[in-house]
Subunit: 283 residues, 2 copies
């Protein structure tokens, strides 16, 4: 496994692979890897000849009051996990490589970023799309793999790739969960012991919403109210949003007709956790 730290070396490496007709799969991460990331990597391994991951805590997707400085990091652990899962290259750049002086360019996806995380975290998606555009140009993948836990992010990345005609296949993978149902996230590391139980309110409320749907409930307002009530019973929770949206436009829906997603963002103690459930889909 190679560790590459400069943009030039990474581009040269990928270009030489492509010249030899090799297929590149890419999993971008902010490190502090967990099984969610590793599942993306295992999928990448199947889809290509060379699996590249990036480990980079991207400053432009954090707001001024967010957890950039405290974001958990463990490069040695990440290196070991990546090696075990068969990663061929870790791209591990410094901030000076990614955002040198006089950096001025941003990629924005409008409209579908107006709701949910785009509403709560105004700079977030601009940071995500910008860093992904950069990483795609550096790593030059044929296929890139994202988790569906960050549902809106996946929709936004697909939109960017389509709109900017990036010749890259975007694959979305199911959310990986702890045995008790908690969606895996690097931010789970922030959870104190007594908050762990409250954190389960996200996945459990989604399960509850799924049951309501199965029983025939189609009123988004009714389901959202039940979900909010459910979560709020748990100590230490503070709901950022609980919304049911169209899976493509990310606009709120009133009735669950087409494909809709219930998306949650909830602070549990310190961390803000997200999770989602797509109605009418076998997961």
């Amino acid at each position: 496994m190679k560790i590459i730290k400069t943009v030039r070396d990474m581009q040269d490496f990928s270009e030489s692979l492509r010249l030899r007709g090799k297929r590149i799969a890419f999993v971008p991460t902010m490190g502090y890897l967990h099984n969610g990331h590793l599942e993306l990597m295992k999928e990448g391994k199947k889809l290509a000849d060379c699996l590249i991951t990036s480990i980079y805590v991207n400053p432009t997707q954090f707001g001024p009051d967010e957890d950039l400085d405290k974001y958990p990091r463990d490069f040695e652990g990440d290196e070991r996990l990546s090696r075990n899962v068969g990663v061929d290259v870790i791209f591990y750049p410094a901030n000076s490589q990614m955002y040198p002086e006089n950096y001025h360019t941003y990629v924005t996806v409008e409209n579908i970023t107006d709701n949910l995380c785009g509403l709560s975290r105004p700079c977030f998606f601009r940071g995500v799309t910008t860093i992904c555009a950069k990483l795609f140009n550096i790593v030059k993948p044929h296929v890139t793999i994202f988790g569906r836990k960050d549902f809106q992010q996946l929709v936004v990345i697909k939109r960017m790739v389509t709109d900017l005609n990036m010749d890259i296949e975007v694959v979305g993978m199911p959310t990986v969960r702890e045995p008790d149902g908690l969606a895996m996230s690097s931010r789970n590391a922030y959870l104190k012991e007594d908050e762990r139980e409250s954190a389960l309110s996200l996945s459990r409320s989604l399960k509850y919403a799924a049951e309501l749907y199965e029983r025939g409930e189609r009123d988004a307002g009714v389901i959202i109210k039940e979900v909010k009530d459910f979560i709020e019973k748990h100590p230490g929770t503070r709901i950022d949003y609980a919304k049911i949206c169209d899976v493509e436009t990310m606009k709120d829906v009133e009735r669950l007709d087409g494909r809709s997603v219930l998306a949650l963002a909830v602070w549990v103690g310190t961390p803000r956790l997200i999770d989602n459930y797509v109605f009418g889909e076998n997961k």
Copy 2:
């Protein structure tokens, strides 16, 4: 010479060239080709194995009150000129290929677009950077060639390519002029016969500014005043801007110390013409 009209066909063609180790040069244009474009193409021909040009009047770089509908078009003439100069492929897409329904993604370069054309035409550079990002992803060039007549555009494109880590060389070529000095532009086609003389006020005022500089004048305000007075003496002219800026930051300068550019945008009758002169540089 091939004419390719769909994004998919263009990407496949370019990818197959790259797989065979061929080098691709790209000259994006809005058509209605003149010698300025042809010089870019001749340079592209020298720099690569395959020369691709695009002919596409990009709607997103026109403001609501601008000349999108009236922009001059002559595909058959362009085809002939392209063939003569050795173009291998013309990429000639329809709007539905480039901006399909639900299109939502834009590339913006901040800061250096705040002055000059960015100030007069608020959507212009966003449109230019967005279409160029798209075209680069479609045509997949190793090198792209732009004219220095659109000086700020060249600076902005270089900034985008650097910032987004596009692995593309950007070459800037000198402005090509008519024998009497008028910078070549597709918009010169709009000039009525009596406006043709007034249009010369741009290149002539630049020449006058160069003389003032040679004689030791370093006060930007003095030079700008002389240039404006010179242009305004010509009937039918209306100055949009006449500014002296730093060639990298595009910020106004007071004294001509580092490398500075005198940039002009002037309506002459209907068309708004641009031209520029870089001080302290042998052109």
